[in-house]
């Protein structure tokens, strides 16, 4: 019998998750009473989330709690802030979007909040089982959100595909977890590392491969990315944004913690897998994106290519590389959200899908076009934007660790990626406007999202030092 005190039951360490669960439940109950104006629920959620930022940023405990299940360290806090920011932006752009799409059901906000709880659990999980619970909570929420526009066949199709493939990948992940448990006798990450030592066990390697595949699915790494274009296209655009930012960041958080805490002794093995996946993902994502005519599919392949670059940072496995991952995801949250916000604004059932719909937008909407160009250039990694700083950070970490070929592939694919990002800018600025496509007015909420994301994108590029320092500090505990 383990004495209770040694479990270190510290509710303070799960305070953000508890508060957010409470907020989600509150929204669900409020939904019963608010019949007409569902956007009130959105406002409540946003205010709650904003209030949660300082709480999450401060919930830092040096020791694992709940018997080693939860680790509320700086790493988790950094990610929690990214998740909350992504959720806030998503809800802000959802309010207009849902009205436009004529969706009037309030549990939408509730589910977004719950998916955010799942992400938080993933970031602070110090045990494979806790991790799995968080991952499923997030994934289940997304299955519903993707299929939320039940009137649209594409949305339902996307949801179903995501669900089936997600179930498959969860199965594979669980399979990997069970092999790991079999080899080490524990599901606790620190305990696994201690039990394994450096002992090479083929079943453990099998477990590592299968866990990699499970996470590879979530971050959309080649060849486990197949769901991405269809699901991104079918889902309501704000959900796509959250999927590409929050879900990806949470999966990388878990990915990092598992590999860096539980399997540091096997870096040679998983490093090799990640090398291949990273190179293949960067090449595949950026090459196939060129051929896309639909802007959401283009952004989907772009998000695949970015996953490859982020994976490179994870592979480097030192404070620069891992810190680079954190910084990259922070920047990505701003620039990708900005781009998706503009797409969500433009897109409706008929127009805004095709890149050619953006023709001549610059003469009709100069400010929006400028912002879109800014976000796309940041995604392409052009200075002085945050995208440049993030890519620079990750590539220089890779070069520092002598991954020359991988860094070279990263640089070349980045150059390729400029081609398809610039295509949209080309359409906006160089083409004559297309008669039909008219972008609707952006409301106040949209303007707030666009201004904040644009500011963040530029600011993180001009003045990255404090955020990079924070990221490096956050990954320090994982590298012990």
């Amino acid at each position: 019998m383990i004495p209770l005190s040694s479990l270190n039951i510290s509710f303070a360490s799960i305070m953000p998750e508890m508060l957010l669960t409470g907020l989600a439940l509150l929204v669900l109950v409020l939904d019963l009473f608010i019949r007409e104006e569902k956007s009130v629920l959105g406002y409540v959620s946003v205010i709650g989330l904003i209030a949660l930022i300082p709480v999450s940023a401060r919930t830092i405990e040096a020791k694992a709690s709940f018997g080693g299940m939860v680790m509320a360290d700086e790493f988790a806090a950094y990610f929690n802030v990214i998740f909350i920011i992504a959720a806030i932006f998503t809800i802000l752009i959802s309010m207009d979007y849902l009205k436009k799409m004529n969706v009037r059901r309030g549990e939408y906000y509730h589910i977004i909040l719950f998916s955010t709880v799942g992400m938080m659990v993933m970031a602070s999980a110090n045990d494979l089982v806790t991790l799995y619970v968080g991952l499923e909570l997030m994934a289940m929420s997304f299955y519903i959100l993707v299929a939320y526009r039940i009137a649209s066949a594409r949305s339902v199709e996307g949801g179903l595909k995501y669900f089936v493939l997600g179930a498959l990948s969860s199965g594979i992940l669980l399979y990997g977890i069970s092999f790991t448990y079999g080899a080490s006798g524990s599901t606790n990450l620190s305990e696994i590392a201690r039990q394994l030592g450096g002992f090479q066990n083929p079943f453990l390697i099998l477990g590592i491969v299968l866990i990699t595949v499970g996470f590879g699915f979530k971050v959309a790494a080649f060849p486990f990315h197949v769901w991405t274009p269809d699901v991104y296209e079918g889902a309501p655009t704000p959900v796509t944004a959250l999927l590409s930012i929050g879900s990806k960041a949470a999966s990388f958080a878990a990915f990092m913690r598992v590999f860096m805490v539980a399997f540091p002794a096997f870096h040679a093995q998983w490093g090799e897998i990640l090398w291949m996946l990273s190179a293949a993902t960067m090449i595949f994502g950026s090459v196939v994106a060129i051929a896309q005519k639909n802007i959401v599919r283009m952004l989907a392949y772009s998000s695949i290519a970015h996953a490859g670059i982020i994976m490179m940072g994870l592979l480097v496995y030192n404070d620069l590389g891992a810190g680079g991952v954190l910084y990259y995801l922070l920047v990505y949250a701003f620039m990708n959200m900005g781009a998706f916000a503009i797409v969500a604004l433009f897109r409706n059932d008929r127009i805004g899908e095709s890149i050619s719909d953006y023709s001549g937008l610059a003469s009709r909407r100069p400010v929006l076009s400028f912002l879109m160009a800014l976000f796309l250039l940041s995604l392409a990694g052009i200075p002085p934007t945050g995208g440049f700083a993030a890519k620079f950070f990750v590539f220089s970490a890779a070069i520092d660790a002598r991954y020359y070929w991988l860094a070279a592939i990263g640089v070349v694919t980045t150059a390729i990626s400029l081609f398809f990002y610039a295509k949209v800018i080309f359409y906006m600025y160089m083409r004559e406007p297309d008669g039909e496509a008219v972008m609707p007015e952006s409301g106040v909420l949209y303007n707030v999202v666009l201004l904040v994301t644009a500011f963040g994108t530029v600011f993180l590029g001009i003045y990255p030092t404090p955020f990079i320092d924070m990221a490096i500090k956050a990954v320090k505990p994982l590298l012990m």
Binding site: L165, P202, V209, F222, P223, F224, V226, I273, L277
Partner: protein, 679 residues
């Protein structure tokens, strides 16, 4: 209070952002209010910083205020931080004070413009960068401001970009400034490179000036010369002055603020700030002084015959900047900065006055079509005349004291040529300024009936700044009068900053002062001579252009007669020595021709090579085609089958069928597994 110095640049920046983002929807009143209030607040803070500074003991009057750490890269670090010392305090007082008055004036002058908000956004942004330039405590912040004011100058010269001449003038200013800035940035690189080879990884003034003595004097000479190239561009000195006269295409208050009172004096400020470097490089000082005094004479001579009211002022500005460079080049930094300050008052006043005239004349700028405006524009004509008296060096107005100090420094340091040329320039200045005054305000109106009908005095929002500036142009010289108890107040205030160069320079300065005291009677005589030059200039201008005096003039002394008698000279001056044409012929057109050649080379030679290569390729391919058909056909066919098979797999990957997706997924798992477990 001094710790709040960061607010001074921040306020105009906030104003620029508010007006830039929301200005188009705010209404003109709100836009003007935001811009002017931000300036007023910045000015008030500057004033209180000035008082806090003089309350400190003299040796403590240099305070660095850090704001944040901008870039850290290894041991190299750049801070955004500000230096509050007598020099920067004087500069911020001028920039925010004159800037505020010009903002207020602009609110009236630009009232009818449709892009009112854009104007004020740029103007505030300009002030922000200017303040960064003068307040920065290291070279990079100064450079940030240096480039920023250049940008804003470009934007404001081309403010009416629908007009081709305006957008061309903006481009010209930008390109010419790039030439200077190229030298400037090379100077910075050289400075940084030299310092880091001495183990110093900082570009803050304090460390640079403290360690400059350890550097090789030759390198310091090169740095000082390169930095001065930047000043030549920014402060419109010969041979890069050509952009400033064209810059008059911008709105008149812009000419007053940027192209008279503040930005163009940045070069003078830069040299004065780097006096530690320049006093180590006396040869460069000689060059600075020579270029300065030559530019002064050169521009003044062009100013004698120009007819455009703003062009005269533009050449006058170039000329006066030459004076300042002559002073700082001779090591008389205080005199240079003193003239910078008084020039900001009276030249700002003159430009605003000319704006008021142009406003009244419905946009007419040709002085030949003016005349007799005194009857209608009482305030403008009186204040303008005060400005003209100040620039002509008539005591006791401010211009007299500062100009005379420069001439005295030149004389007492033994540079008699510079003194003589300066005196001649002073005479010319008085002549062309009063030519302008008489042509504009006296005599009969030569405008057409329609314009005449519209002539009206400007509203109070424009005349009050004129009156304030006129007041400053009269009394602004008080701080630099050398006869008071304890000598010039300004000298006393600035000398801790401006003489921490080499000891040799300080010794020379000390000797100069000793001479000054010993020969104060000589100084009085020289003062008399320079006043005489000014009065003579005014008198001769009066004989030529002032109707009541014209009758006393000898018969040959008329504008037409003189232009006829000295027709080649007049033509040369009227066409500004053909400098623009020479530049076009020597630099611009050859470059254009080179571009043309490159194009035809590209079309002819390169394309020819490409085409012949293509032809050869086609030939080879024809050969290999035959080879293919008969030799490698079988091989090729099997390859083609393989490629087809591959591409169909890739194409089929995104079928949309879920079962295929799952298949790919599992296939991927298997491939990775096999690779890892076997490899």
């Amino acid at each position: 209070m001094i710790q709040l110095v960061w607010l001074i640049p921040l306020l105009p920046l906030i104003g620029a952002i508010i007006n830039g983002v929301a200005g188009s929807r705010m209404g003109k009143k709100a836009v003007g209010l935001v811009a002017c209030l931000s300036m007023a607040a910045a000015f008030l803070i500057s004033v209180s910083i000035f008082f806090s500074l003089i309350a400190l003991p003299e040796e403590a009057r240099s305070i660095e205020v850090g704001v944040f750490n901008w870039i850290t890269s290894g041991s190299f670090q750049i801070d955004i931080s500000f230096l509050v010392d007598p020099l920067s305090t004087l500069m911020i007082l001028v920039v925010t004070g004159v800037g505020f008055l010009i903002h207020v004036y602009s609110a009236g002058y630009m009232h009818h413009d449709k892009s009112y908000w854009r104007y004020f956004s740029y103007l505030n942004l300009f002030v922000f960068f200017m303040l960064m330039l003068v307040l920065g405590s290291n070279y990079l912040v100064m450079f940030l401001g240096w480039e920023g004011v250049g940008l804003c100058s470009y934007l404001l010269i081309g403010f009416w970009y629908e007009k081709k001449s305006a957008s061309d003038a903006g481009k010209k200013a930008f390109v010419v400034n790039r030439i200077g800035d190229f030298g400037f940035i090379l100077g910075l690189f050289l400075l940084f490179w030299t310092l880091s080879s001495h183990g110093i990884h900082s570009l803050s003034y304090k460390t640079v000036f403290a360690s400059v003595h350890e550097l090789d004097p030759k390198v310091v000479t090169a740095i000082a010369a390169l930095l001065f190239v930047g000043a030549i561009g920014k402060s419109a000195q010969f041979p890069l002055y050509v952009w400033l006269p064209d810059a008059m295409e911008g709105p008149t208050p812009v000419s007053a603020l940027i192209h008279a009172a503040t930005m163009v004096t940045a070069g003078v400020y830069m040299v004065a700030r780097n006096n530690a470097l320049y006093s180590m490089a006396p040869e460069v000082g000689q060059v600075v002084a020579s270029i300065g005094i030559f530019t002064a004479l050169f521009a003044a001579s062009i100013g004698l015959v120009q007819d455009d009211i703003k062009k005269v002022l533009a050449y006058s500005t170039v000329s006066q900047l030459g004076y300042m460079f002559a002073a700082v080049g001779l090591g008389a930094y205080v005199a240079g900065v003193f003239h910078l300050m008084t020039h900001a008052f009276f030249k700002g006043l003159l430009f605003l006055g000319s704006g008021s005239v142009i406003h009244a004349m419905s946009g007419e700028q040709d002085m030949k079509k003016m005349g007799g405006l005194h009857r209608h524009l009482k305030t403008t004509s009186i204040t303008f005349t005060i400005g003209a008296l100040a620039i002509a060096g008539i005591p006791p107005l401010s211009g007299f004291w500062s100009k005379d100090e420069i001439l005295w420094e030149a004389f007492s340091k033994g540079h008699l040529v510079i003194w003589a040329v300066g005196l001649l320039t002073a005479f010319m200045t008085a002549f062309y300024m009063f030519r302008q005054v008489f042509l504009t305000f006296s005599g009969e109106c030569r405008a057409d009936e329609h314009t005449k009908h519209h002539i009206h005095e400007s509203p109070a929002i424009m005349t009050v700044p004129l009156m304030i500036l006129a007041f400053l142009a009269i009394v602004g010289g008080v701080v630099g009068i050398p006869f008071f108890e304890g000598g010039s107040k300004l000298h006393h205030f600035l000398s801790p900053v401006l003489s921490h160069g080499s000891h040799a320079a300080a010794a020379v300065e000390g000797a100069g002062e000793a001479v000054a005291e010993a020969h104060s009677s000589l100084e009085f005589i020289l003062m008399g001579v320079s006043v005489g030059a000014g009065v003579l200039g005014i008198f001769l201008a009066g004989l030529m252009y002032f109707p009541p005096l014209k009758s006393f003039a000898p018969s040959f002394w008329t504008a037409e007669n003189m232009a006829g008698t000295f027709s080649p000279l007049h033509k040369l001056l009227y066409n500004k020595y053909y400098v623009d044409e020479i530049y076009d012929a020597v630099i611009v057109n050859p470059i254009k021709r080179l571009c043309g050649w490159c194009l035809s080379f590209d079309l002819g030679v390169i394309d020819g090579i490409v085409n012949s290569a293509a032809w050869i390729t086609r030939f080879i391919s024809w050969v290999s085609h035959k080879f293919d058909i008969y030799v490698v056909d079988g091989l090729v066919n099997s390859m083609a089958t393989l490629v087809n098979f591959n591409s169909s797999i890739w194409r089929r990957m995104q079928t949309g069928y879920l079962q295929n997706y799952a298949f790919i997924f599992v296939l991927g798992v298997l491939i990775v597994l096999v690779r890892v477990l076997l490899g």
